[in-house]
Symmetry: C2
């Protein structure tokens, strides 16, 4: 799962029973903040947390973005949410980084992957 | 949940117990196909399926994309996967649209939303 954090996605698969945190957000059109730095720092910090299994993030030119991070347990998600630097990021998120967002927590049932070279495989 | 299909995301929340299908894909750098038409058509067709609850899709300039669709049941996901036109899209996806992708199916535990105007709310 550690490869999931790399730029090349679609490599590793989350196992059954772990948790996905689906974060869908919209950036304001006129944003002129230090979001990029914060975003990179949070991705880096998340990787250091207990129970972190991987993250994939995409943002489109229209300002909408989706990040999916994977965690071993609900307790790991709660602990990450409570990290001081992350709490400050959350505060800034609501204050300026995002005009809107949703967070969905879901438990992984199954997964499969496809690569042009390797074909299809199950997790 | 129907608003979720609109361009303005972050509005509706999936209820506990429904299913998220997290589709993370990478487009080839040199793609010159009719992916855009197929992608739009599949989003349209998905909306007509029984059990469809919403979809959010983002693709970045680097060719990586994440789509999350929500469904009422596993049977609804299986039925959508078996729709003839969707099967052809899946075939083209592996043949040319994507260099790699992962599909993760996860059951929603909880969700919350934030909007600048309305603050935070739970699902």
């Amino acid at each position: 799962m550690s490869q999931r954090g790399n730029e090349s996605s679609a490599a590793a698969l989350p196992p059954t029973g772990v948790y996905a945190v689906i974060f869908a957000s919209t950036r304001p059109h006129d944003a002129t903040d230090d979001y990029g730095d914060w975003s990179a720092r949070m991705a880096e910090l998340a990787r250091e947390q207990p129970g972190f299994l991987g993250i994939e993030s995409v943002r489109g030119e229209d300002g909408r973005g989706i990040s999916v991070s994977y965690w071993a347990s609900e307790a790991d998600i709660a602990a990450w949410k409570a990290v001081a630097e992350h709490r400050e990021a959350q505060r800034l998120g609501m204050k300026s980084f995002y005009s809107a967002f949703t967070v969905v927590v879901a438990k992984v049932e199954r997964a499969y992957a496809f690569t042009r070279e390797g074909g299809k495989r199950s997790g």
